[in-house]
């Protein structure tokens, strides 16, 4: 913990606080259809004309959901086709073969759902073409889908007795054109300027200073890295993700890549505040997120610096890039697991058990600590609804959030978003624990092996995509199971959220009074944190105690496996 680390942290938090309102205001303008950009406005109109969409046409929640599902299923099919035919398609200078079906399916589902779980190494598996028109496109569209669903929920919360939630096609188009595309373009240029590769040339054969022959993988990376971070996608262009020097070459790119992950999810809390007519509502959510983020980091960082009796080392650099060091690795890991990003600049598998557990818990909370683009906001809004319901009764009124009564229907759907992911994580982990196919992929014996399985399914269900790399996930068992639980994790969020949005939208808004449960106060933020921790994570306590907790205690006793 030296001075430079602290300065960098201060810069990071300062930038987050500064950018949140700026970006949030811009996004609110875009999503309400007021703000556009000159040239892109023409593109937007063209898209509507070509696809025959009337952006003014409002959709009921069922139609909105139908559009989301159709859009995503089509996305999966297109990626699947691109992957399985890449050998015959252009932009494949390395002549990489077509992908086998299980891997192609797992990858397609993973990218369309903003998960970017990768059971492959990009440079050995994916052609430039597949990277560009399959994976990179979905990096944009999955993030835009998240924003669209979030804004639909905001509309449900803020509209008065309305049967509709907006137009999905318009929301997705505007989010892409006016939010994701411009930010990514700027960021990609900055990254390229710092040395991230951006080329369609084939891999370079070079002679190293030691005189050995080596092939350097290249490709159109900068353009994909930008949206990978900004869209909380996290799927690396290369297998090493942001630990690779061509993806994340300098301390500056590292700082920007970490920051880019938080930027849009943080900004969306402000967008929410603006659209709900009370900015404090947004700051309350932001505050709860910030506290959870800082708490996680404050646990993981010292744990990573601490002396480890099992290895005899302090501030272990195992699995970390020398150019980033401990603090930047832990910060990246905390941020990437707080959000559903999953990009990594260090091997999470090598972290101390406690730092690894923080990463897991971050994901188990349901990716609501800033969370995924859009999904973080709608995730924490669901927790806000649960908080209002559990604690709100204590003020002696039927619980309300933003003046909307929270009743049986909202509660039913809200608990689905908590229950189903828990079933998926614990169920899949249990299956993997007792089947040969599950256990045989584990590289490390002892409790760490259990942590690897638990981490894998947590990451998939939470749509994070990072991994404890010790687990070999490119097996039929893990590919098929991952495709299943990833989809379950994503749609157990989206479907209930839109149902709740529809139900809330049709309700009246009760004007606030002194008797109303205040949801824009620090008290509420504290309660929200309590509910997120107790409802979101308590279920996982037994599993965690058999994984990282016991591993930590064993390491303290100097025992290894």
């Amino acid at each position: 913990m030296n001075q430079r680390d602290l300065i960098q942290l201060a810069l990071f938090l300062g930038a987050l606080l500064a950018v949140t309102p700026l970006l949030g205001k811009w996004m609110a303008g875009v999503l309400s259809g007021e703000k556009t950009l000159p040239l892109l406005k023409w593109v937007e109109g063209l898209i509507y004309r070509v696809s025959g969409i009337d952006p003014q046409r409002e959709m009921s929640w069922q139609r909105y959901l139908g559009a989301v599902l159709a859009f995503n299923v089509l996305g999966i099919l297109l990626v699947l086709v691109a992957e399985m035919t890449q050998a015959w398609l252009p932009f494949n200078p390395q002549h990489l073969p077509n992908l086998p079906f299980p891997l192609a399916l797992g990858t397609a589902v993973s990218f369309v759902t903003n998960t970017n779980w990768q059971a492959y190494s990009g440079e050995q598996t994916m052609s430039y073409g597949t990277q560009m028109w399959a994976l990179c496109v979905q990096n944009f569209l999955s993030a835009a889908t998240g924003i669209a669903v979030a804004v639909a929920l905001i509309r449900g919360l803020t509209r008065r007795s309305s049967q509709t939630l907006g137009n999905f096609w318009a929301d997705v188009t505007r989010s892409t054109l006016y939010i994701l595309l411009p930010l990514s373009a700027i960021f990609a240029v900055v990254l390229a300027g710092q040395g991230v590769v951006q080329t369609l040339a084939p891999y370079a054969d070079v002679t190293t200073v030691e005189g050995a022959q080596q092939t350097l993988p290249l490709g159109p990376a900068a353009s994909q890295i930008a949206i990978k971070q900004l869209g909380t996608n996290g799927g690396g262009f290369f297998g090493q993700n942001s630990a690779h020097p061509f993806e994340n070459p300098t301390p500056l790119t590292n700082f920007l890549e970490i920051f880019a992950i938080f930027a849009i999810p943080a900004g969306l809390t402000y967008t929410f505040g603006l659209m709900s007519g009370n900015r404090r509502q947004g700051w309350a959510l932001f505050g709860a997120m910030l506290v959870l983020f800082v708490a996680g980091f404050a646990i993981a960082w010292p744990a990573e610096l601490a002396h480890n009796p099992a290895t005899g080392l302090t501030a272990s650099m195992e699995g970390k890039e020398a150019r980033f060091g401990v603090m930047n690795s832990v910060l990246f890991a905390t941020v990437t697991t707080d959000t559903s990003c999953g990009a990594v600049n260090a091997m999470h598998d090598s972290f101390s058990p406690i730092a690894g557990m923080v990463a897991m818990v971050n994901m188990m909370l349901g990716e609501v600590v800033f969370g995924g683009v859009g999904s973080g906001l709608y995730g924490i809004l669901i927790f806000a609804i649960l908080t209002v319901f559990i604690a709100g009764l204590m003020v002696g009124r039927t619980p309300e959030y933003l003046g909307k009564k929270i009743e049986a229907r909202e509660i039913t759907w809200s608990v689905v978003t908590v229950l189903v992911p828990a079933v998926a994580i614990l169920g899949a982990t249990a299956v993997a624990c007792v089947t040969k196919a599950g256990v045989s992929s584990v590289a490390n014996p002892g409790p760490h092996g259990f942590s690897e399985i638990l981490y894998a399914f947590t990451s998939m269900v939470a749509n994070n995509g990072s991994a404890f790399a010790g687990l070999n996930a490119n097996t039929d068992f893990y590919n098929y199971l991952s495709a299943l639980v990833i989809a379950v994790g994503r749609f157990a969020g989206i479907i209930p959220v839109l149902a709740i949005a529809g139900s809330l939208g049709a309700k009246k808004i009760a004007p606030p009074s002194a008797g109303t449960f205040p949801t824009d106060s620090p008290t509420f933020a504290v309660l929200l944190i309590g509910v997120i921790l107790i409802v979101g994570a308590l279920t996982f306590f037994p599993a965690l105690s058999l994984g990282p907790v016991v591993e930590h205690l064993l390491a303290q006793a100097g025992r290894t496996f």
């Binding site: 008065r160 649960l386 319901f389 559990i390 604690a391 009764l393 204590m394 003020v395 002696g396 009124r397 039927t398 009743e407 049986a408 509660i411 039913t412 608990v415 908590v418 229950l419 828990a422 079933v423 614990l426 169920g427 982990t429 249990a430 299956v431 624990c433 007792v434 256990v439 014996p445 002892g446 092996g449 259990f450 009246k508 808004i509 009760a510 004007p511 009074s513 002194a514 008797g515 109303t516 449960f517 205040p518 106060s521 008290t523 309590g530 107790i534 409802v535 308590l538 279920t539 996982f540 306590f541 037994p542 599993a543 105690s545 058999l546 907790v549 016991v550 205690l553 064993l554 025992r559």
Partner: protein
């Protein structure tokens, strides 16, 4: 129906204890999913104990059954209080015979056979057989059976006092009644089912809470069900096959401790006791939903008369015209009012006495001829013939215009100072009465509405709770504004008609607010039906009583405020115990997880593995830890029964303040209390060698 039973009534306790065993019937348990899981667990554990007997298994089994019994006991206690009342009511209903009118002839039929539309005759001594409307005659009725109030009330055809209730007794005269209720659905029947909780339907909030509790239960079933798989991996990784005790009693114990049994076991008791609290205040709700809605009320529409002000205007001042002393005016006013038996008249006599020591003279003052108020003259007064040298006197008092016409007709004039006084009084919200003797105007009596003592403070409390009060009155806006200011209401409706009331309710509801009101007349019925909480006065018409969703047997309009408080208290109790229940789980994990996994990864020859570090309470042994958690979990239900029956402490303060307080007590308290409680039970178990 005044409070009868205390919490510690031995008869009540005995009955509740018996009922808690009867409620072990699976058909009863099935209705409460959280407790049903405990029920299944208790059966499985009992079977496991039979198969592999041990003192530990036996104790776990017993405590699981105790958990169920305690929850049943809470419900039985809540129901028991109502049942005693219901039994009395039922006794009253059964033996009634009705004198049904068929084509002008009387027929004796059983009360239960009467249908709506039948007409019956009731004379002094008869029990009114069913709810109805007096269509002919007038009678005094003893309604103590339902109201507890022994003074008889008048019931007459037409007007706002025509409704009669089955089970009450006519004590004088004869009335003809048209029956308005179908058999089995009379007021008395509904009252019985309400207090018994027999037909108690779950309220919307209860349903939503139920869903949450079931989901949490499912979540923890999942957490426990996946444990064997995780354990099998860990045992093989540690090379210690079978070191973790995952017997049925242990797994069930963990599950029962984690699922929200505290709130699950007390939920129905909380709901029933909320209605019971209303009944104790002599309010009957037609549904639990109405009670809950009362807690959500944003706006109260209150009738001015009887709620905010005492029913009648009272004389408050004498304002003489120039040249007349106040004492003279007071004397004349008192004289003119001696025979005036209206409350206003009496208040004039009293004020004169208090202010000028003028003793109320005998009404039968010799020779005085009292002139009663008539609709034509719109004045009342007194005439004294000339006698014993004293001149004849003729005193009149009445509305300004009437008296002005009167004195002018006698050749007098209406002085400017009197006109000014009249105007001033009107501005202040009072009612002026002008007094004249002959053609000479003496002055003006100010009659004022008297705002009830303490009502201003109550409105202030309501405002703190976020509830706006709207005063409804037929007065002119000037008068209304003055009284509104004095009483401290937030808004008022002057010269309000029943249609205005209905419109106002609709408007508030469109803006998203919930509205409560009281009413008694037939013309109040539409507004009562439209309001989210409509409290009908028992003295009111049948139409009003049918339209509202609550009836106040005391016919006290101020009761509405108490109803709101009871509604709020009900929701608060539910929320507080839910929070408490969920917060408890943290400590229980710290008791049971080290007990389960404490030996895992222990070095050879030791039973103390690394996860013993989670045993922060330093519980004696794995068995004592599990048992302590289960016992604490069972006892906390018992400990919270009084709270769930009485409701949590309630104060009229803003939501933010209530929230902070309750979060501290039930949230933070719920987090910490079980650590202390479980440790204490553990110490006791060790002390008495039960483990």
């Amino acid at each position: 129906m005044k409070p009868k039973t205390s919490l510690l009534d031995p008869a009540l306790l005995r009955q509740a204890a018996l009922d808690s065993f009867l409620k072990l019937d699976p058909r009863v348990q099935w209705k409460n999913p959280v407790m049903f899981v405990v029920y299944i667990g208790a059966i499985l554990t009992a079977l496991a104990t039979v198969r592999a007997f041990s003192g530990f298994n036996l104790q776990i089994t017993l405590w699981l059954w105790f958990t169920l019994l305690f929850a049943n006991f809470a419900e039985a206690m809540a129901e028991g209080r109502g049942k005693a009342q219901a039994a009395t009511l039922r006794g009253m209903r059964t033996k009634t015979h009705a004198r049904k009118l068929v084509g002008g002839r009387e027929e004796s039929v059983a009360a239960g056979e009467l249908a709506a539309g039948d007409t019956v005759v009731c004379e002094a001594g008869d029990i009114i057989p069913a709810d109805g409307e007096v269509i002919e005659g007038i009678a005094s009725v003893n309604e103590s059976a339902i109201t507890g109030e022994s003074a008889p009330v008048i019931r007459e055809s037409g007007g706002d006092r025509s409704a009669v209730t089955g089970g009450t007794q006519v004590i004088s005269d004869r009335v003809v009644i048209r029956i308005t209720s179908e058999p089995g659905n009379t007021f008395l029947d509904r009252m019985i089912s309400m207090v018994e909780g027999a037909q108690r339907q779950k309220t919307p909030n209860e349903i939503a809470l139920g869903i949450l509790l079931v989901s949490l239960t499912a979540l923890f079933i999942l957490a426990v069900a996946t444990l064997p798989a995780f354990t099998s991996y860990s045992e093989s990784a540690a090379g210690q096959s079978g070191v973790v005790n995952l017997s049925i009693p242990v797994l069930v114990s963990l599950l029962v401790c984690l699922i929200p049994t505290t709130i699950g076991g007390l939920l129905s008791a909380i709901g029933i006791s909320g209605i019971d609290r209303l009944v104790r205040r002599n309010v009957l709700a037609t549904s639990g939903r109405a009670v809950e809605a009362a807690g959500d009320i944003d706006v109260l529409l209150l009738d001015k008369t009887g709620t905010i002000t005492l029913g009648n205007r009272m004389a408050s001042d004498f304002i003489p015209v120039e040249g007349i002393t106040q004492a003279l005016l007071a004397d004349a006013a008192q004289l003119s009012s001696l025979a005036d038996e209206t409350p206003e008249g009496r208040s004039i006599v009293v004020l004169a006495k208090e202010k000028y020591g003028l003793r109320g003279r005998e009404v039968a003052e010799p020779h005085a001829v009292f002139v009663p108020f008539t609709a034509q003259s719109r004045m009342s007064g007194v005439d004294f013939p000339a006698r014993d040298g004293a001149p004849a006197r003729s005193i009149r008092k009445g509305a300004a215009q009437s008296v002005q016409d009167y004195v002018e007709s006698l050749g007098g004039c209406f002085p400017k100072s009197a006109a000014k006084a009249v105007e001033d009084i009107s501005h202040r919200g009072g009612t002026p009465l002008v007094v004249a003797e002959g053609a000479q105007v003496l002055g003006v009596i100010e009659l004022k509405d008297v705002v009830k003592g303490g009502i201003k403070e109550r409105f202030m409390h309501l405002r703190k709770m976020g509830i706006r009060t709207v005063m409804v009155t037929g007065d002119n806006p000037l008068t209304a504004a003055a009284i509104a200011a004095e009483a401290g209401v937030d808004d008022f409706m002057a010269q309000a008609t029943p249609e205005d009331k209905l419109r106002r309710i609709r408007q508030e509801q469109t803006e998203g607010r919930l509205v409560a009101m009281t009413g008694d007349g037939t013309n109040d019925a539409p507004a009562l039906a439209q309001a989210d909480v409509g409290v009908a006065m028992n003295t009111g018409t049948q139409a009003a009583r049918e339209a509202g969703n609550m009836v106040d047997l005391d016919s006290n309009p101020t009761k509405l405020i108490e109803i709101v408080e009871i509604g709020k208290q009900l929701l608060m109790t539910r929320g507080a115990l839910t929070t408490f229940s969920i917060a408890n789980d943290v400590a229980k994990y710290f008791a049971i997880l080290p007990a389960l996994f404490g030996s895992l990864y222990a070095v050879a020859g030791s039973t103390q593995g690394p996860l013993q570090a989670l045993n922060v309470m330093h519980l004696h042994s794995p068995e004592s830890a599990i048992l302590s958690a289960v016992i604490f979990n069972a006892l906390i239900i018992v400990a919270l029964i009084p709270l769930s029956l009485k409701g949590i402490a309630y104060r009229a303060v803003g939501a933010a303040q209530v929230l902070r307080r309750n979060v501290l007590i039930y949230g933070v308290g719920g987090l910490l209390a079980p650590f202390a409680g479980i440790k204490l039970v553990d110490l006791l178990l060790v002390a008495v060698h039960l483990v």
